[in-house]
Amino acid sequence: MEEGLIHEWVVDEGESVSVGDTVLIFETEKTTAEIDAEEDGVLLRKVVEAGATVTIGTTLGYIGSESEANDIPTESDEDTGNGDERTSRSATDDSEEATPVQPEIRATPSARQTAREYGVDVTAVGRAVDVQQVRPKHVEQFLNESGALDGSEVRGSPAARRIAEDNDVEISEIGEAFETDRVRMADVDEYVEQIAVSERDEQVADELDQSREPTVRETIPITGGKKVMFDRMQTVSSTYGSTTTVARADVTELMDLLGSIKEPWREHNGVSPSLTAFVIRAVADEIGAYDVLNAAVDDSKSPPEVRTFEDVNIGIAVDTDHGLLVPTVYDADESTVSKLSERVASLATQAREQSLAYEQQQNGTFTVSNAGTFGAYINTPQINPPQTGILGVCTVNEEPGIVDGEIIPRKFVHLTLTYDHRVVEGGTAVSFLQDVKGRLEEPQSLLS
């Protein structure tokens, strides 16, 4: 219900009412209802006559004691003083007839003439300007204050109008654009130039439109293992002093060795020897002399700390469908290559099957990442925080090598050591990498 029709006043003005007496009857779309007196008194005034349709909140009339008759707000008070009272048009008209309390507004003939010219009512002028005798200056004041003469009409100089017409633009739009009510030739020229420029821009934009915004195929939330990678790489890239040193190892002998022991190992151990296992063995053997690489950084402390470890737990980066996982080869320095091969294969399988236990992904002290299986010529993996280094193993390539002054085919692999230069000296990192390289180039030493 938003409005109602005043059907009938049961009580007339001047009649007494008591609490509960029906004062008037009104209708809505759905029902007819009564409004009863809430207090004893006299119906002082009907504000809305029967037959009028009014909105909710409209004052319909006043009930009070006789002495309160003069306290009833006048029409203008209701309009301006009481914002929540909305009065319908019919209500306004009726009440205005009923209460001619406004002083009569008079106007001089010239004021009437001026008012007529601008189509305004002298009474309205008198009330707005608050004078009883309206003079021409009051009409002008009214017009100025009401905005009728605020210069909103834009005028162009004759030359400006001619040029505007030649260029098919409106003086008014130029005035609006430049916030002026006087348009000159130079304004038109400038406006026309601006239009030309913006049209050119739009044209360029149209041409580019198709290639500008790439179409989204899919929006993928980053969660689980991918979120772990996301967070760790963010940490590393924003806080670590990641630096990379690269070595190229001649693994001809190692690859020959792998080839020669492959069958026997399968038969006896049920596992193939892997390059990764040999690398882990080399790392585990050598890292003891470079304890700052078998360590963890804690930069939340003040001063920051690096903790070196007794244990050598090598993480191996495994690429899976659900993100990069890094299972841990515990105590890698205590395992044979044979055992390492088995453990690496087993952990990789578990990683892909998502069956790694929590413990199997914790407590790494250094990481080896073999991207060589993907064919990476040189690959520099990121450190797995809070560790201080990671060794990247790249693809094994047959390339020309020099042995005893002769160029002959050899097998090479790039070893990339990325280390946190905040805590690891460059020399330390390079020496470590050279030692690992040396071990791989003499593979027999890794079999023991």
């Binding site: 100089s157 004759p158 030359a159 400006a160 109008r161 001619r162 006087r182 000159r184 030739m185």
Partner: protein
């Protein structure tokens, strides 16, 4: 080749040459003979051409006007000097109702080839009656030519043309400018009547100035040039009949018009120019037309008031800036 000389020298030469060239030319007026003219414009002419052709008259402008019209109708080419243009009205019945009307009255090629020389110009403390600019008094009379030169070259060339012209010409000389100098061709020449002259070119505003105000306008234009505004100064030289085309062309180029005259602005020459430009080049105007001229009051005698009355270069500069910045 040309020589720098004063307006006075130019006028004297013009009279000399025309008296010499044509025996029907003769010069008369108050003090033009023995004294050689109050401002020495006719110095030496009586001695050279004799008192039959150069002679003094009583202070009787009515007679000067009447005899000039009569002599011209009879075939002579009188050059009569009304010492101060302020007294032209005394002779003006003859000029307005006879000299200007004969050609139209008879319809038989009757002409009145007279020249009335008269001086005007304000700023020398001569008060109410000795410096008014009278061009507007006669502009409204068809049949009268009114010439108001501004440079030595134009004074000479235009006076010679006026003397040779078959119509009555009022030739107005600015007495404040008699000593101003400028180049004048050594060889004989004339400057045609009824041709406006561009005294300075520019593209930002057109200043149409007449008589003594031309130099003031050029001075204003030079000052404005230092502020980056280039004004075109057009000198009509002949007030009536007025050569409007160069003025219209200039306004079409600059889109801004300022008119300048010594006389009061109300009902003046500048108002006529403004009206014609508004009529014929309305859609080329980008600013209100500004008029520079004297206030609507007689020339004050008090020195400080006269100084206020006379329009200066800075008044013209203000008018140009007002127009452009409106």
């Amino acid at each position: 080749m040309s020589t720098e000389q004063t307006v006075r020298e130019s006028l004297n030469q013009a009279l000399h040459e025309e008296l010499d060239r044509d025996e029907s030319v003769f010069l008369y007026g108050e003090d033009v003979g023995d004294y050689g003219g109050l401002y020495k414009i006719s110095e030496g002419l009586k001695d050279k051409f004799g008192e039959q052709r150069v002679f003094d008259t009583p202070l009787a402008e009515t007679s000067l006007g009447g005899t000039a019209v009569g002599a011209a109708l009879a075939g002579a080419r009188p050059v009569v000097e009304i010492m101060y243009a302020d007294f032209l009205p005394i002779a003006s019945d003859h000029l307005i109702n006879y000299a200007a009307k004969m050609y139209f009255n008879y319809g038989d090629e009757t002409s009145v080839p007279l020249v009335v020389r008269a001086m005007y110009g304000t700023g020398d403390g001569h008060g109410l009656h000795h410096g008014q600019s009278p061009e507007a008094w006669f502009m409204n009379i068809p049949g009268l030519k009114i010439v108001m030169p501004s440079t030595s070259r134009d004074y000479k060339g235009l006076l010679k043309s006026a003397i040779r012209d078959d119509d009555p010409v009022i030739f107005l000389e600015n007495k404040m400018k008699y000593d101003s100098r400028g180049p004048v061709p050594d060889d004989e020449y004339t400057v045609p009547l009824c041709e406006s002259d561009i005294k300075r070119t520019g593209s930002d505003a057109t200043i149409v100035a007449i008589g003594g105000m031309v130099n003031t306008a050029i001075e204003a234009a030079e000052n404005l040039s230092e502020k980056g505004l280039e004004c075109e100064v057009v000198d009509p030289r002949t007030v009536s009949p007025l050569d409007m085309d160069p003025i219209l062309e200039s306004v079409k180029k600059t889109n801004v018009l300022v008119v300048a005259q010594e006389a009061p602005t109300f009902g003046g020459f500048g108002s006529e120019v403004a009206s014609q430009v508004i009529d014929d080049a309305f859609f080329y105007l980008d600013a209100p037309v500004k008029r520079v001229g004297a206030p609507f009051t007689p020339i004050p005698f008090a020195e400080n008031l006269e100084e206020m009355y006379v329009q200066t270069a800075s008044d013209i500069e203000d008018a140009v800036l007002d127009a452009i910045n409106t």
